[in-house]
Structure formats: structure tokens, C-alpha cells
């Protein structure tokens, strides 16, 4: 192969790889982007079975452990309360009355099945999404 042809071939392969990577990237983004919703938006925004992040405050006195070992607690944005069921391990910073983000799927009329529960490792942490949601509802009591 002549040098010129070789160079063309390399550019061709590089172009093909780039297109493949871009396709993968955007297909990946379409499939794995997770929307954030507040409890009151759950019914309107999330279709049953769609993966979302539910953010809000854990309602005081609602955390309990079921006989099957799963954790149950309610999350509120001041307007609506949603029951969350979680089979896994609650993070260290999980507390009643504090902000939390639960990632999972919702079945209307039943509970929100969380696959992951996030609380950040900073004691003053309030998930940003929760702050936004609380501000929108006028429930925000913090700074700004």
C-alpha cells in the first residue's frame, strides 16, 4: 500500500471509530439519563416503571423496617408524601427530617421501589434538587 493510501485508510478507520463512539454516547445518554422529580410531580412526570430520582425530605417517624428486611420511609416536598421501599443498605447520613434522593421506579398506588438511596457525606448537605424543589414550593428555610 502506498503511504497516501495508508494515511487515507487510517483517517477512514478513525472516522468510523469516532462515529461509533458518538453513536454509543448518544444512545447511552438516551437510555441512562435519569430525571429528577419531587413527590408532587411523580404522578404527572413519571410513567409507571420509568427510572427516576425522587428527592425530598424524609418524614419524621416514618422510617421502619419490614419483616422481610426492607426499609420503608416517606419522602415529602411539603405537598405530597410518597412511600419509598428500599431493600438495600441506608447510607450513614440517612436521617429522618433530612434531604434524600432515592433512585428507582414508581408504581402508582403502590410504593416507590428504590434501587439506590443517596445522601451525601457532608452534614450540611441538602441535595441540590431537593433545595430547588423546596424553593419552588416555598418550603425552603435555608440561605439564599
Amino acid at each position: 500500500m502506498r503511504r497516501r493510501d495508508q494515511r487515507l485508510m487510517m483517517i477512514g478507520v478513525a472516522g468510523a471509530v469516532l462515529v461509533l463512539a458518538a453513536t454509543l454516547t448518544f444512545a447511552g445518554l438516551r437510555d441512562s439519563v435519569v430525571y429528577f422529580v419531587a413527590p408532587s410531580e411523580l404522578a404527572e412526570k413519571a410513567q409507571a416503571g420509568q427510572r427516576v430520582r425522587l428527592g425530598g425530605l424524609v418524614v419524621d417517624g416514618t422510617l421502619r423496617r419490614a419483616d422481610d428486611g426492607s426499609n420503608h420511609f416517606n419522602v415529602t416536598d411539603g405537598a405530597v408524601e410518597v412511600e419509598v421501599r428500599y431493600d438495600g443498605l441506608l447510607p450513614d447520613l440517612f436521617r429522618e427530617g433530612q434531604g434524600v434522593v432515592a433512585e428507582g421506579r414508581w408504581t402508582p398506588g403502590v410504593a416507590f421501589e428504590a434501587e439506590r438511596v443517596l445522601a451525601r457525606h457532608d452534614e450540611t448537605y441538602m441535595p441540590r434538587e431537593v433545595t430547588e424543589a423546596l424553593k419552588q414550593r416555598g418550603e425552603w428555610k435555608g440561605a439564599q
Binding site: 429528577f36 443498605l89 457525606h121 452534614e123
Partner: protein
């Protein structure tokens, strides 16, 4: 008084950095000014060092009239963490950033090496401006010496999670890497100003790139290790935006380490090397922006202050604007590279660079996508591990499959048939691994392929050492001992990538995890062993109290004891986890204790993980860092010899 001395020295350093910038950029043709530039760079670094020592002194003496000390330290804190507290917070870490930048500038200015005088002085000048930018930000937007009036009696304390040896060492290491990339950036800008990027230029660039890459590798590994044993989640990588912020510059630095070799040895790819040097530093700054501004919802983003975020963004815009502007203007004028064939060492390194750069691009898109969607009014979204696993993993897999061929190629024109023949045993071993893994995992293709790739990398690295040694003379051991250091450094790093791959794949695919409630005396069978909770009791540490749970682990080869703690620091409202880890050859048994379980008498929430071969992840990263270090030694040695 100490805080004022510190602030004064930092201000002096700022003035000196500007002088360094001006002198360096103007000194191009006059040797006397070049000498002055070196002296100014040294003075700037000295002033920064004094400022930093003053900050450490304020932390050690628990001077709570200094705001940064009051917010981040506590009188009860052990000395070593009071010292580490100086950089374990936003303000102090920015001063550290400036110090490292000034120190690197001074070292670079002092060891001029083989570069052309005007190239050297311009690089010192640009570095001076980089330091000045960091100092402006430090002094005006996050002054670590700001006083607090009235001074509190007691500090708020360091986040107990950060009170940890790995995390005390993590930021300095990461910053050495981030800021280490500023020297390649300065050299790239100097080359563009100068209109030449030759082999001597690449020779000056390479040790700094290696240093930055090695520090980034070790810094990221330390952070990952810390997350693994301190957070109590049993995980080591979360594709968290803050992790991505360090991973992107790492990928680009990795590409730069390789492209600098091509430019040094063959004079080609110079303009690409320059572009990578600009991008690498740009991504390091972007990483700082992402972490500091709080624009991203992250598990670890801290210092939420939009004003600071905007300031970093302005600095980023200036650096990248200058970099890309100069690049667009001057790069086309750089000398054209010499040619090479489609199958050659050069082309292998081109593909390596291509793959790493695409991977960095994909991580960048995934990290910034939520910001873009939100800015466009599309609501709040998050892009999590599924995206990165689906995109970055196949890219790295392709890169790793090609990797062992690279070292087997010769410069200019390579021989792929010969390389394949020599690699045949490695290919066979990898295929055998694939088949065995497929059969033993009931046809789980992804982990099987991953394990085979890991074995392929290790076998390929060993094959390279073997083929190089076979060229020598004498006994086998003597031949291996006589190999050049660069052969070792490359092989150790590449084998390290294989070890890390095996650890990462096996840990991700085969980890076992269980959450349950246990009362003292109760036991459970988990991952081939019986785990019994013996008792739970309170203990007192130096500045915390803890609940400690003692376990007995019965295995085929005998019983061991293990304890896990939940610590309560009076200065922090939330408890922290001290996991119990029982390491064996096959992996870690990892136990974390939670809260008492409500409604069940005397029972505690317990989390059990079995993390198979998790140590290979950290061992692999360590080997990669060691490879970088060996390479750095080899490259600096060769620098002293006349070229």
C-alpha cells in the same frame, strides 16, 4: 500576626509571579534577563512556601481568629490532622495549588536543560502567569488568612470522614498532578509563541508530563481506596462528577505521556502533543471549577459558592482562550512531521491517543450533559454509572486489546505478522481465559471478556520483556537484569493496567452483598464463611466515641475476629463508619455496622460484602504509578547525558 505574615507573603508572591511572567515573556533574547527570571521565580516560590508554612502554623496553634482554621479545625484534633487540615479545606487547598504551581515554576526555571533560551524563558513566563492567576483567586476570592472577629473559642472541626491518612495525602497528590500539567501547558504555549516544537522541546516536556501523570494516578488511587474503606459502601469508583473531574485530565495526561514519546523520538505529532498539553491543563482547571462551584450534584462536591465558580470559569476561559487562540494562529506554521507507515510504533501511539482522547470526550459529555440540559430548561437530570459503563468500558476494552501490539512495533515501519507471532502465546492464554471464564460463569460474556483482556495485558507485557531480553547475551537472568529501565517502566505500567482490569472486572461482576439485622450471638452464612456477631459495646477514642461490634468469622481454615465501628464525633452531627475488613488472597470480607434496628430487640443493622480480588485494583494502580515513576527516573537520567 502569623496570618498577616502569610497574607503578606502571598501578596508578595503574586507580585513576583507577575514579574516572572513579564520578565520571562520579554527575556527571549537576553541572557541577563533570563538570570533575573530564574531568581524571581525562585523568590515567588519561596514566598508561597512561607505563606503556606504560616497557614500550617495557624492550624497547628489552633488560631481560631483565622476563619479557615475556625471552620476546619478543632483543638482536640490530633496534630497530624491539624496539619493536614491546612489543605483539607477549600481556602487552604487553593493556597497549596498556588504553592505547587510556583514551586514547579521555580524548579523548571532552575533546571534549564537543553531547551533553547527563548523557549525556556517564555515557558517560565507563562508559568508565572498561571501562578499569578491561582494567587489572585486565592487572595481575593478564598483568602485562607481572613480573620474572624470575634474569634470563636472552639473550631467547628474537620469533617471526621476527612480525618484519615489516605485522605490527608490525597489532595496534595492530586494537586501535584493537576498543577503538574501546568508546566506542559506553559511549554506548549512557549512552543507556539516560539513557532517551534522540536525534539528538544518534547524532551523538556516529557519528565513533567510523567510526573503529573504519576501523581494523578496515585492521587486518584488514594481517593478511590479511601472511598472504599471509609465510606462503608464497599465501592471504589462511582462515576461521580468529582471523580470524573480527575479522570478526564488523567486520560489526557496518559495520551500526552505517549504522544510526547513520539515527538521526542521522531519529531512527529508535535502539534497534537501541544493540543493535548493545552487540553490536559484545561481539563484540570475544569475539574477545579466543577468541584468548587457546586454546579454539579455530586456525592463529594463541596464549597458551594457560585462566585468562586465563576472566577474559576474566567481563569479557565483565559487559559483555554490563550491556548486555543495561539494554537489556531501558530500551529499550522510548525514544522511538518516526518512520515510513518500505517503499521508502526507511531501509528500504535496515534491509536492509543485517539482512544484516550475519545474516552476523555465521552466522560466530558456525560459529566456536562446534566448542566447543558438544565441550562436549556430541560429539567434536572443525572447521568450515572450505566452511561459510563456502556460507553467508556468498550472504548477502553478496544484500547487494551490493541495495547500489547504497540511495544512490539518498530518505529516508522512495523511488522504486524512478526508481532502477532511473538504474541501468540499471550493470545492463546487470553483465549483460554475467555473460555474458562465463560464456562465457569455460566456464559456471562462481559466479565469473561474483561478477565481475558486483563490476562492479555499481563501476558503481553511479559512477552515484551521476554522478547527484549532475548536480544541480549548471556544467561537468562543476566539478560533480564540488563534491560533498559524504560523497558521495565513501560511493562510495569502496562501490566499494572492488566492487573487493575482483572480486579475491577472481578470485583464488579462477582461481588456479594447482604444487609441484615443481627443480635449478639446470632450468626449468618455468607460467601463460604460463618459470621457471628459476638457483642456490641461503646468505646472512647481520642476525640470521638464509638459503638464497636465484634464479629467472629469461621472459615474452613480457622476462626478470625473482626470488628466494625460506628464513630460519633462531638463536633459533627452525623456518625461515620469504620468498616471491618478481613483481607485474604481471594479478596476482602467487608463488614459495616449500622444503627440499632427499630422494633427488633437488641438487633443491629449489619452490611456484609465479599469483594473478590479488590486489592488487585489498588495494586494495579500502584503498578501504573510505579511504571510512571521508573519512566521518570529513566527520562531524567537520559536528560543529563548529551543528546
Amino acid at each position: 500576626m502569623i496570618a498577616e505574615i502569610g497574607a503578606f507573603c502571598a501578596a508578595l508572591a503574586l507580585a513576583l509571579s507577575f514579574a516572572q511572567g513579564w520578565l520571562g515573556l520579554a527575556a527571549s533574547r537576553r541572557d541577563s534577563r533570563a538570570e533575573a527570571t530564574t531568581a524571581v521565580a525562585q523568590a515567588a516560590a519561596f514566598m508561597c512556601a512561607i505563606a503556606f508554612v504560616c497557614l500550617i502554623a495557624a492550624f497547628v496553634r489552633s488560631d481560631f481568629s483565622v476563619a479557615a482554621v475556625a471552620a476546619n479545625s478543632h483543638i482536640d484534633k490530633p496534630l497530624v490532622y491539624r496539619i493536614a487540615g491546612a489543605w483539607g479545606n477549600h481556602e487552604g487547598s487553593m493556597l497549596l495549588w498556588s504553592l505547587v504551581s510556583a514551586l514547579f515554576g521555580a524548579i523548571f526555571a532552575t533546571t534549564r536543560g537543553a531547551q533553547h533560551l527563548s523557549l525556556w524563558s517564555r515557558a517560565v513566563g507563562v508559568q508565572g502567569l498561571v501562578t499569578a492567576g491561582a494567587l489572585i483567586y486565592t487572595l481575593f476570592l478564598s483568602n485562607p488568612f481572613a480573620r474572624l472577629d470575634p474569634a470563636p473559642m472552639q473550631g467547628a472541626g474537620l469533617n471526621p470522614l476527612l480525618q484519615d491518612p489516605a485522605l490527608a495525602a490525597h489532595p496534595p497528590m492530586l494537586y501535584l498532578g493537576y498543577v503538574g500539567l501546568s508546566i506542559p501547558f506553559s511549554l506548549a504555549l512557549a512552543a507556539l509563541l516560539e513557532g517551534r516544537a522540536d525534539q528538544a522541546w518534547a524532551k523538556a516536556l516529557r519528565p513533567w508530563t510523567l510526573l503529573a501523570w504519576t501523581c494523578l494516578t496515585l492521587g486518584i488511587a488514594l481517593g478511590s481506596y479511601w472511598a472504599y474503606y471509609e465510606l462503608g459502601w464497599g465501592g471504589w469508583w462511582f462515576w461521580d462528577p468529582v471523580e470524573n473531574a480527575s479522570f478526564m485530565p488523567w486520560l489526557i495526561a496518559c495520551a500526552l505521556v505517549h504522544s510526547a514519546i513520539v515527538t521526542e523520538r521522531r519529531g512527529s505529532m508535535a502539534s497534537w502533543t501541544i493540543l493535548l498539553a493545552i487540553l490536559g491543563f484545561g481539563l484540570a482547571l475544569l475539574g477545579t471549577f466543577l468541584v468548587r462551584s457546586g454546579v454539579l450534584t455530586s456525592v463529594h462536591a463541596f464549597a458551594i459558592d457560585p462566585r468562586r465558580g465563576i472566577a474559576v470559569l474566567v481563569l479557565l476561559a483565559i487559559a483555554l482562550g490563550a491556548g486555543f487562540g495561539l494554537y489556531a494562529w501558530r500551529a499550522p506554521k510548525l514544522a511538518q512531521p516526518s512520515g510513518f507507515a500505517a503499521i508502526s510504533r507511531e501509528s500504535a501511539l496515534v491509536w492509543n491517543n485517539f482512544g484516550l482522547a475519545i474516552a476523555a470526550g465521552v466522560v466530558l459529555i456525560g459529566t456536562l450533559y446534566p448542566l447543558i440540559v438544565e441550562a436549556a430548561g430541560g429539567g434536572l437530570i443525572s447521568v450515572g454509572p450505566p452511561f459510563f459503563n456502556a460507553t467508556v468500558a468498550p472504548l477502553l476494552a478496544a484500547l487494551f486489546i490493541l495495547l500489547p501490539f504497540g511495544p512490539m512495533m518498530t518505529w516508522r515501519i512495523g511488522d504486524w505478522k512478526g508481532a502477532l507471532t511473538r504474541l501468540a502465546p499471550a493470545v492463546a492464554l487470553a483465549l483460554l481465559t475467555l473460555i474458562v471464564a465463560l464456562v465457569t460463569t455460566q456464559w456471562r460474556a462481559v466479565p469473561a471478556i474483561g478477565l481475558a483482556i486483563g490476562v492479555w495485558l499481563i501476558a503481553g507485557g511479559l512477552t515484551y520483556v521476554w522478547t527484549r531480553a532475548a536480544r541480549g547475551e548471556g544467561a537468562a537472568l543476566a539478560k533480564i537484569a540488563a534491560l533498559p529501565l524504560l523497558v521495565w517502566s513501560m511493562s510495569v505500567a502496562h501490566i499494572g493496567a492488566g492487573v487493575l482490569t482483572i480486579g475491577a472486572v472481578a470485583e464488579t461482576a462477582f461481588r456479594a452483598e447482604r444487609a441484615l439485622a443481627l443480635a449478639p450471638g446470632q450468626g449468618v452464612d455468607f460467601a463460604g464463611q460463618r459470621i457471628t456477631l459476638l457483642e456490641v459495646g461503646g468505646i472512647d477514642g481520642p476525640n470521638y466515641s464509638a459503638t464497636r461490634a465484634n464479629f467472629r468469622v469461621d472459615r474452613a481454615d480457622g476462626a478470625r475476629s473482626l470488628s466494625a465501628e460506628r464513630r460519633f464525633y462531638p463536633t459533627s452531627p452525623t456518625p461515620t463508619t469504620e468498616v471491618g475488613i478481613l483481607s485474604g488472597l481471594d479478596g476482602d470480607l467487608y463488614i459495616a455496622i449500622g444503627d440499632p434496628v427499630r422494633g427488633q430487640d437488641n438487633a443491629w443493622a449489619v452490611r456484609l460484602y465479599h469483594n473478590p480480588v479488590v486489592h488487585l485494583i489498588f495494586l494495579g494502580a500502584l503498578m501504573m504509578g510505579l511504571g510512571g515513576l521508573l519512566s521518570l527516573v529513566a527520562v531524567s537520567r537520559s536528560k543529563r547525558r548529551p543528546a
